[in-house]
């Protein structure tokens, strides 16, 4: 190539500029982490964290906790996918394994004596029973626990069991102070959601869908057992429609990041930049589910205009709102834009983790059983997608919007 891109001189101030920007990010993150921790101490999340600490230090007891059939209820507070789907979910693997004979209350509060020596024991850890919704290879078993679809996405809870012990998933960077691990008041490491990344493909009724392992959220029970849940969006052709479907999941690898008990990250010997662990294998799951659209509201053809930013369709389930709009244009005349959503009180609804292409945004909701749903959604479309991510208040949204819509919801 005759063009010497690499010979463009780099500013001597670049290191300083980059460091300043990254410091700003870390400072902001520390501030948020601190606030989150304080709130967490007085919340259910803290109770859950305590339970996880208990599990990590008592692997044998941890194995006594219910592992399958009722994972959603235990996971919902710690994950960004709003809602407890337990009351609506289809149970794929009933909680009838030895590990799951006790109720959560008995397992955690009862303090039943472990079967073996405390902290030893891979042999104390109860492997999941094989079933039609389990797949085992390379010493690793994936068991589908529950599945739920609101007609927009599929929410799947999984148990992952490894014969070989994993390290623990402490986040050694969260407190942002020189890479020291975060510890609680008594000096114990604070365990955080595990970093496991199953790599593979997923299909719904033979149509491939995005199976994004970075959206899998996992809690570690002990060195061998993990509970997790993942959200996968339905293809557009099935969105808002009921009916029975089959989800096929085909996994080829499991990647994992973890730390040792000192909080130091476990490095891959071959490549320090790589994940701590990679397990190769073949795991195939075929999971039937029925799309439950009984509580899903569909608003089609909201605007016949093709003007940029016009909101065309909105889907509202108890757990999320999907907003489709005519994309705006960027400098090149290409699709752009993002939506912002508030409830009737002006409370911002967070964008979901799986915003789709330009012209569609997803927002987290949670008005499942016993929870009050918003009376209305106030929607704004912003010309610039990044700008839409920055907006925190309705007034700013109103000023920047190229279009808006207030949508009353039925109760």
């Amino acid at each position: 190539m005759p063009f010497k891109f690499d010979e463009i001189p780099v500013s001597t101030k670049l290191d300083e500029t980059v460091k300043a920007a990254l410091d700003q990010i870390k400072k902001e993150k520390r501030r948020k982490s601190g606030r989150k921790f304080l709130v967490g101490c007085t919340s259910v999340a803290a109770a859950f964290a305590a339970a996880v600490i208990f599990c990590v230090s008592n692997p044998a007891l941890a194995a006594k906790l219910p592992l399958v059939g009722s994972l959603f209820a235990g996971l919902e507070d710690d994950f960004p996918y709003a809602g407890d789907y337990s009351d609506r979910a289809q149970i794929l693997t009933p909680p009838e394994t030895p590990a799951a004979l006790e109720t959560p209350g008995e397992g955690q509060a009862g303090g039943e004596a472990p079967a073996g020596e405390e902290g030893s024991a891979p042999e104390d850890t109860v492997a999941p029973a094989e079933g039609p919704y389990s797949a085992t290879d390379s010493g690793l078993t994936f068991t589908a626990s529950e599945i739920y679809s609101d007609g927009l996405s599929v929410f799947l809870s999984l148990q992952i069991h490894s014969e070989e012990a994993f390290g623990f998933n402490y986040d050694w960077t969260e407190d942002g102070d020189g890479g020291k691990p975060a510890r609680d008041e008594t000096g114990n490491l604070i365990p955080l959601p595990a970093s496991l990344y199953p790599v593979g493909r997923a299909y719904i009724d033979s149509e491939e869908v995005v199976f994004d392992s970075t959206r899998l959220f996992v809690e570690q029970l002990d060195e061998h057992n993990f509970n997790g849940m993942i959200k996968t969006d339905l293809p557009a052709s099935m969105r808002g429609m009921g009916g029975s479907h089959t989800m096929q999941v085909s996994l080829q690898h499991l990647l994992a990041d973890f730390c040792d008990e000192t909080g130091a990250p476990v490095s891959n010997e071959e490549n320090i930049m790589d994940t701590s662990l990679q397990i190769d294998g073949a795991w195939e799951l075929e999971l039937p589910f029925t799309a439950d659209i009984g509580s899903t509201q569909v608003f089609n053809n909201l605007s016949s205009s093709k003007d940029p930013g016009q909101i065309t369709d909105v889907y509202v389930s108890p757990y999320q709102a999907v907003v489709n709009f005519v994309p705006c244009s960027d400098e090149w005349g290409n699709p752009e834009g993002g939506a912002v959503c508030f409830d009737e009180n002006g409370t911002l609804l967070e964008k979901g983790n799986q915003s789709t292409d330009f012209g569609s945004d997803v927002f987290s909701l949670d008005f499942g059983p016993d929870k009050k749903q918003p009376a209305e959604l106030r929607l704004y479309v912003i010309e610039d997608w990044i700008a839409s991510c920055k907006i925190r208040d309705e007034e700013t949204a109103r000023k920047q919007a190229v279009s808006s819509l207030t949508l009353p919801l039925s109760r």
């Binding site: 463009i8 780099v10 290191d15 920007a21 990254l22 970093s195 994004d212 983790n353 990044i386």
Partner: protein, 179 residues
């Protein structure tokens, strides 16, 4: 397609989960690249630094929406381009970007003069300049440029053809063959 080196994917995954350390490592890895791309747009050290800084902040804010970790570098480039354009606009607040002839106006160049591509891209309209920078300086494939600019691959090819047509007046023959 290798827009993001495979050995960086674990870091990208951690960054998507909000791990600032992993994100910082990635940025450090790409910082020279980011600066050079920004400089190609704004041709000014301080403005290029501003664009890089803004890109770093914006990208972290939005990283949870990155759907494919392997596209991290391309996705980052896309945000950088937007930042560079915004900053460039602030220096030229009146003329729309598509009509801006950024550095030397074309009439100042006789057909006898031969520019290298580094100078020549300044006379291109914005969209053509972007495809040239991404293709010949960032070494992106057509598919990656399509993702970075959020335009169809066919449009990328069309822009490249038109850009090469625009550049025909001011590039040496060797460069044309290289393109």
């Amino acid at each position: 397609m290798e827009p993001c080196e495979k050995d960086l994917l674990p870091l990208v995954r951690r960054a998507i989960r909000g791990n600032a350390e992993a994100y910082g490592t990635l940025i450090t890895r790409y910082q020279d690249y980011l600066y050079r791309v920004a400089f190609l747009y704004v041709k000014n050290e301080d403005l290029a630094l501003d664009a890089v800084s803004e890109c770093i902040l914006q990208a972290f804010q939005a990283i949870r929406t990155l759907k494919k970790p392997e596209y991290f570098k391309t996705w980052l480039t896309r945000i950088l381009i937007r930042c560079a354009i915004d900053i460039f606009r602030q220096t030229l607040p009146i003329a729309p970007m598509d009509t801006v002839q950024a550095a030397a106006p074309e009439p100042a160049v006789s057909s006898e003069e031969k520019w290298d591509l580094y100078d020549a891209i300044d006379v291109l309209p914005e969209r053509y300049r972007t495809v040239i920078i991404l293709k010949y300086f960032s070494d992106m494939t057509i598919r990656e440029i399509s993702y970075a600019m959020n335009i169809p691959e066919g449009s990328v090819k069309a822009y490249l053809n038109r850009a090469r047509g625009e550049l025909r007046h001011c590039l040496k023959e060797d460069y044309l063959y290289a393109i």
